[in-house]
C-alpha cells in the first residue's frame, strides 16, 4: 500500500478517529479535590494536632464553713478552712486548659437567703485568678497552656451584715476543668 506525502493515518481532524475518549469536566475536578481533602485530613492527624489525654482537679476540702460573727468587728468572715488547696493536672499534648466555678444558687436557709455574690475568693498560684461567686454564670478561676501540674490556694470570704436572718446556710459549688 502506498501513502501520499503529508497524509497521516488516524488524524482526528479528518474524522479518521484516534481511539482516545474525552472525560466530562466534573470528574476532572473531583479527581483533584478529593485527594486534596484527604491530604488535609492526614496533616491534621499526623503533624500539628493537640489534645489532652486527661484532666484532673483535686480540691483540698469538700466543704468550707463561715462561722457566725459580729458584723461590727468582723465585716468580712474568713472560711475556717482557708486556705483551700487546688491541684490541676493536664496530661497528653494539651493546648489550653480552663478552670471555672458555678454556684447552684444563693446561700439558703429555709426561706432565708444570702446572695451568693457576697462570697469572694482570693487566689494564689500560677494561673489562678481571684473572683466573686455568681448564681448567673460560671466564674473564671484559672487558665493554663500545655501540660499542667500546678497547685494553688483559694481563700474564701463572706461579706458580713446585720441584715442576714439567723440560720444555717448552704450551697454547692461545681468546679469544672476543661483541657483542649
Amino acid at each position: 500500500m502506498a501513502f501520499a506525502a503529508g497524509e497521516r493515518l488516524g488524524d482526528a481532524s479528518n474524522g479518521a478517529g484516534s481511539g482516545a475518549a474525552t472525560a466530562p469536566r466534573g470528574c476532572h475536578w473531583a479527581g483533584i479535590l478529593v485527594p486534596v481533602m484527604l491530604l488535609v485530613v492526614t496533616m491534621l492527624l499526623t503533624t500539628s494536632h493537640v489534645h489532652a489525654d486527661t484532666a484532673r482537679i483535686a480540691i483540698g476540702s469538700t466543704t468550707v464553713a463561715f462561722p457566725s460573727s459580729d458584723p461590727d468587728t468582723v465585716p468580712s468572715v474568713a472560711a475556717s478552712e482557708n486556705p483551700v488547696s487546688v491541684r490541676v493536672r493536664v496530661n497528653g499534648s494539651p493546648g489550653a486548659s480552663q478552670l471555672t466555678v458555678a454556684a447552684g444558687g444563693d446561700l439558703v436557709s429555709g426561706s432565708a437567703a444570702i446572695p451568693i455574690s457576697k462570697v469572694t475568693w482570693a487566689a494564689a498560684g500560677t494561673g489562678f485568678t481571684s473572683g466573686r461567686l455568681s448564681s448567673d454564670q460560671p466564674q473564671f478561676v484559672g487558665q493554663w497552656f500545655g501540660k499542667v501540674d500546678v497547685t494553688g490556694q483559694l481563700r474564701f470570704w463572706l461579706e458580713n451584715s446585720w441584715s442576714y436572718a439567723a440560720g444555717n446556710y448552704s450551697q454547692n459549688l461545681v468546679y469544672t476543668l476543661i483541657a483542649y
Partner: protein
C-alpha cells in the same frame, strides 16, 4: 461527579468533628459552702448617765435632762419574722438617803422607727420592738416631772435596758 464531591466533603466534616470532640478532657469537683448566722443582740446607748438639774417648779414643771437626746442603736440577728424587743426597768425609785422621788415621775420621748416613748417603772416597760434582723437607730429624751413636794437632796437610781432577739 457532583455526588462524589458531596461525599468527600461530608467525610472531611465528620472526621474533623470526631477529632475535635475526642480531644477535650474534663473533670469536675463539688465544694459545699456552709454559713452560720446565730441569734445575736447588740444595744448601744449614747451615754451612761443622765442628770436632772435643780429647777423652780413654777417656771419649770418638767425638767429636761441636759444629755437629751440620747442616741440608741439596736442591732440583731434574728430568725425571719422573729420579734426583737427592747425594754427598760428601774431598780427602784430615785433615792437620796431616806428620801425618795417616785421613779414614775421620769418619762421619755422617742424618735426612730420602732422606738416607743414611756414612763419609768420598777417592772419592765417597752422601749422598742422590731421584726427580724437589722440595724436600727433612734433617740430617747428624758424628763422629770417637777414638784414643790420633793425633799432637798441628791437623788439617784439605775435603770436597765434589755434587748432580746430570741
Amino acid at each position: 461527579m457532583k455526588r462524589m464531591m458531596v461525599v468527600a466533603v461530608l467525610m472531611v466534616v465528620c472526621i474533623t468533628w470526631a477529632i475535635a470532640a475526642g480531644w477535650a478532657a474534663t473533670d469536675q469537683q463539688t465544694l459545699t459552702i456552709n454559713a452560720t448566722v446565730a441569734d445575736k443582740a447588740k444595744l448601744t446607748l449614747g451615754t451612761a448617765a443622765i442628770s436632772f438639774p435643780d429647777a423652780d417648779p413654777d417656771s419649770t414643771s418638767s425638767i429636761e435632762a441636759p444629755e437629751n437626746p440620747v442616741s440608741v442603736t439596736v442591732k440583731a440577728h434574728a430568725g425571719t419574722g422573729s420579734p426583737v424587743t427592747l425594754t427598760v426597768q428601774a431598780n427602784g425609785d430615785l433615792d437620796s438617803g431616806t428620801n425618795t422621788i417616785a421613779i414614775s415621775n421620769v418619762t421619755w420621748t422617742a424618735s426612730g422607727s420602732g422606738f416607743v416613748a414611756g414612763t419609768m417603772d420598777t417592772s419592765p416597760v417597752a422601749a422598742g420592738s422590731w421584726t427580724g434582723s437589722g440595724n436600727r437607730s433612734g433617740t430617747f429624751s428624758y424628763f422629770l416631772a417637777n414638784s414643790w413636794a420633793y425633799l432637798k437632796g441628791d437623788y439617784t437610781q439605775t435603770v436597765v435596758y434589755t434587748l432580746t432577739a430570741p
